[in-house]
Structures are given as C-alpha cells and as structure tokens.
Amino acid sequence: MLLVGFVAVPGLKAQNDLQISKVFDQYGERKGVVMVELTDEMLDGYDFSLFKSITIKNNPTAADFIRKCLQKDQAGAKKVKQVVANGVPTSIYLQLPRKGQLYRLILFNEMLNAERKITLIYIESKNDSEDVLKLILKKK
C-alpha cells in the first residue's frame, strides 16, 4: 500500500524538476497575476496532458526572475525561437527533453507595451512539440 502511494503520487508533478516551477510557486497567488492549471485534455481541442500558465503585469523583477529560471532550464533543451530586444530576450520557446512519453514545451513572452505583460506557459503533451505549437498558432 505504502509503495503504491509513493510510486503513484510523484508522477503528478513532472515539472517540479524545472526552475520555472518556482515562478508558479512564488508569483501564482499574488495580486495582478493570473495563474491557470489544466490537466488531462481539459482544454478543448488541445491534447495537453498538463497546461500551466502564469500572466504577470508590469513586474520587471518577475520578468528578470523568469529569464534566470529559463536560462537554467534551457540546459539540454532546444530553443525553437528567441526574440531579443535591447539585449534582453523578450520571447523564448523551448523544447525540453522528453519526460517518459511526454513532450514538454516552455513558452515565454514579454510585451513591450506600457502594460509589460509577461506570459509563461508550460505544456506537457503526448503529441510532438512541433505539432503542438502549430496547433496553438492555428487556433490563434
């Protein structure tokens, strides 16, 4: 019984090995922040095993913190896209190493308008990352 418990539960938190999990932990429940978590294909039309997003408005400290986390998490990952403005990455798509059967993606974007909205998304899917991204863009 104990063994079943210890084995089954860790599988629920595959992203905890990533630095970006700290972003969700530290900023997720603050004012001015929207955090979403959806599991098991709850988002209609998308085959996501896990979808986690956080949107933070006008918080340069958070933006810097996210960039530092991404710098660590990109070790071993493939950078699908990066946009740099004034020497600072404002948009990054990372294709992470697979976790078992799951493909993993991190999407980061910082808007350069007055609102300076930061969006960070973590996705796990049984589908290939390229297909996932094309689907996201198709439905935009």
């Binding site: 997720g28 922040v33 979403v36």
Partner: protein
Amino acid sequence: MRIKINNRISNNEADSLIEKYYEGLTTGDEERELKAFLSRRDLPDKYKPEQAILGYFDRKAPKKHVSLLPYIRWASVAAVVVLGLFSIQRFTADNKANYAFIDGHKVSNMHTIKSQALASLVDVSSSTNEVEEGFKSLNENESIEQQLDVFSSTEK
C-alpha cells in the same frame, strides 16, 4: 461393586467408563474419575489414545497459543489508514488541478479557467512562419552536427 484403592478406579472400571464415555453416557463424576485415572503415569500403552483424546497424554507445560489475530487486526487498520491518506492526497491533488488564481483568488469555474488559458496562449503566440523557421533551423543544426561527427570520428 466398584473397588477403589486409594480412591483410584481399577483398569477394568476404567475400561467400562471409557466405553460409556464414547457412548456419551458418562456422568460428570464418572468423567472426573476417568480423567484422574488417565492422568496417572504408570498406565499401560493401551490407554494412550484415551489420554490423547482427553488431553492428558503429554504432561508438559501447555503450549502458548500465539494468536495472529491482533496483528492481523492492526495490519488491517494500518492498511485502511494508508489507503485513506493516499486517497485523500490523490483526491486533493486532482482537485488542485483544473483551477485558476486571479489576483490571488481561486477560481473553479471551468469556463473562466479555460478562457484565461486560451488568452495566455494568444499572448505568447507568434506567427506560424517563425515557429516553422525555428524547427527547420533545429533540424538543420542536428544534420550539421551529425555530419561533423563523421569527420571527428575519422580524425582519430
């Protein structure tokens, strides 16, 4: 007439009582007499079966009967507790998924949660071309690395 020496019954009397015992006709007093007879150490071997049946064959200290029932009971309780804790954790983990926090307030309305999720996807989306270019570049880089590996292995 029953002959009792030192209040002990004779072998013949014991035989009669044993026969009566098997027929279920012995009185309480007769059974006590029979048990007292069978508890003697100097009895012939022919009485061994009766001694075994009536529990007087072995005069050693009674074996301690180790009952597993308390241990089984405790193990069952422990198993139920563990299962309960596991179920609670699993249930709360499942409940924690499919949620949103907006300005620090938890939202469980699925429509709102999905809307927020879709909105965040729009925020990060760039054009399809940029993504295709990105993957194309990744694939090209992999091909180049594979080609370079061929040269590095031949140099050795």
